[in-house]
Symmetry: C3
Subunit: 309 residues, 3 copies
């Protein structure tokens, strides 16, 4: 049985580590703590979160910090590796073994795929993966699921497109793996050069009803959720290829005329041009509200791994 | 009538937006909260300030953070744009629409003139302008006024010189506009290349008794307040021009022999050479005490816009 | 007589400033506050620590911040000079005279040898030296002493080797000076190019039983404490010299076969190659636990200089 004790002291590293019952438990807790985000709380008073960000981030770092402050806890850390001892040649393992003396829980972002696993192994306190290279971004997947529940009342039965850079985009990797626990239809929509990463396909095959396609327009009318991501120009060897696909997935108000009235458009943000600003004030736009759900989910996670919920 | 309700949820963007009654109300509140700066308070417990600094700053950022901590609130943010999602090409509007989910009030510094206005339009929570390019720095003007009241017992009747770079210096722009609400005599003292910015002149003309001059020495004996600013070397095309005017406005103990005994010397800081350190231990020197008034004023503003005062 | 009143408002700048009775008082307080590090406290509620780090640091900065948060206080500051007004040409004295309005105590790291002294002179609030160029790092020495007490039950009677870069290593400077207050035998073990700094030798001569040597292997069997430090490659003009001495002091499990069973290996961290990771899971390894003692010592110092202990 899944209960709060299942999470105390636990690392949050990969969506591969969570089954349906656990995901639903976390999402329910996120809903439960939502009022505390408005009025504040002393639930984690005396506890300290270390935010170790070896890569730049606005939303993930500030979201973790906000979640911790809303629960009455304290925050320390760094926003870039240059100001840390990594600049002196320290290994990640050593950094973690020191920081675990200073804090009760660690939220970390790192450019290496295996950094979160390495950190979790080194640490005696819980480590939450805030993005590990192109591999995974599990707390983003959780907030994505929570947003879908808020927007649609539930996740089962939805038709969902993950659109854009599915090869390097860590948010869609975690989300695809998470979605294999739900009864959904998923389209992986990308240019051929950026098809869904092989190990994710391996992990979802047989457990998720998915289709790979490059034609967003054709499937648009069926979608309940359109989850857009940035197509990163620097991944393309030929700029002409980039220019071609960039426009294929550019979502604007005119494009959405072909969509269901209650289509929900999500994006992990930051966006550049893949969602036009004329979508922002349509009912489709959920990407800013989505950021708010990050607070609820991270409050729930911090409270759970610290044994306070 | 101006009361606390006039400020709840309000943005603090420009000194153009405040009349005499409002300024006095804020300054009175700043005096009122002064004791809380010593003993601390739980007035803003559970509230979060986001400090978004797209330009480096010691005093303004730390002053806002200190004010928030003194009131029992929490703080998150960044001290330079490089660690934020702006590095990924995000617009300011998008950044603000995300951050408003993480905090209850935003204090922002940005190199663009219109950034504070843009941010305030985007945000559903109050935005306080902590410096917007060369345009305005309204909280600095408020702390300047509060310092004048502390030093002189009031502002009406004072003879005040704003000295140095009046073209690019945002602090003197906000201060000049604020002073139009008081019965004062103001000298705008600058080299010809750095005369008071045109739109400020337009805004104060007919509402402020001012004179533009390049001769500080001549007016020195009349002054109650000498407000010095940095003359920025990089603004001059001919270094010889800079060398000439730099010395014209260098204030040292010998120069102040020609001043009133109770002349108050102020400076928004940081200073480089425009006030010699031999002035620091004279009774004229108010520039370090001035920094302390920033705490009181920012405590008052945070408390007011969050509806807690 | 030494009591809490001896420390209220006091600067912590150099181990030269503390006698045996004072050191023991601080170390006893550090042991006393240890339980508060686990359960948190409101001892410094309403107080603010400014961490001014003009040089990168993970452990010292985060350790101070953790200590302050554990005691219920607030923290502000900067992790690198670029984001501060130093970039605009402000003197350290001016920066300090401003920051003292924002905080109740300052912890500072600076590349200049005399920076901590300059800051303490400028400030009306207590300044704690978190590392001043190659000169001193007094709070590190205190946590080193506290670790020795924890590992060995006391400091008197120990045989201690300080190993590595004794010329530029600020931690061993402070530790050597601190140890002159105890009845210990100390070996200064270094390559000839990096022998213990002259002014430290002058300060300990006649008050500390020490021997300078380059042969760690020969003295290893006698040691109770082996305190390793990084040998910094960039200090050597001839890379061949570096390669030779680097290996002379590389400590691994095989090397420690010649040591006492209860030898305690310490290191201020970060390490690079001077202690092999195969030592990490031996009982000799105290360097990660050592970091935890930094919290206790800094909690004690913050509480003492703020008059709360």
């Amino acid at each position: 049985m899944v209960d709060a004790a299942s999470f105390k002291g636990r690392d949050i590293i990969s969506m591969r580590d969570f089954n349906r019952e656990e995901l639903d438990f976390i999402l329910d807790k996120a809903t439960e703590v939502q009022p505390l985000a408005e009025k504040g709380s002393d639930l984690l008073k005396g506890k300290i979160l270390a935010t170790l960000f070896f890569e730049p981030s606005t939303r993930t770092r500030l979201s973790f910090e906000s979640a911790m402050l809303r629960l009455g806890g304290g925050v320390l850390g760094f926003a870039e590796p240059k100001v840390s001892s990594v600049a002196k040649g320290e290994t990640l393992t050593d950094t973690i073994k020191v920081v675990e003396s200073y804090a009760d829980v660690i939220a970390m972002r790192h450019p290496s795929e295996d950094a979160a696993v390495v950190a979790a192994e080194a640490a005696s306190i819980p480590v939450i993966n805030g993005g590990s290279g192109p591999w995974e971004h599990p707390t983003q997947a959780l907030l994505d699921l929570h947003t879908m529940r808020a927007a649609k009342g539930g996740i089962d039965g939805l038709t969902i497109a993950l659109v854009g850079d599915l090869l390097y985009g860590r948010t869609v990797h975690s989300l695809a793996v998470a979605l294999r626990n739900y009864d959904v239809k998923v389209y992986f929509v990308s240019p051929p050069e950026l098809r869904m990463r092989k190990d994710v396909i391996d992990d979802v095959k047989g457990r998720l009803d998915y289709v790979e396609t490059g034609d967003l327009k054709a499937i648009l009318p069926k979608l309940d959720i359109l989850y857009a991501t940035r197509v990163q120009k620097e991944r393309f060897s030929d700029p002409a290829d980039y220019e071609k696909v960039k426009d294929a997935f550019r979502i604007d108000r005119a494009f959405l005329a072909g969509a269901k009235k209650d289509l929900v458009v999500m994006h992990p943000l930051p966006r550049v041009t893949e969602i036009a600003t004329d979508v922002d004030d349509t009912p489709h736009a959920w990407y800013f509200r989505q950021a708010r759900h990050g607070i609820y989910v991270r409050m729930a996670l911090l409270g759970l791994v610290l044994g306070a919920l």
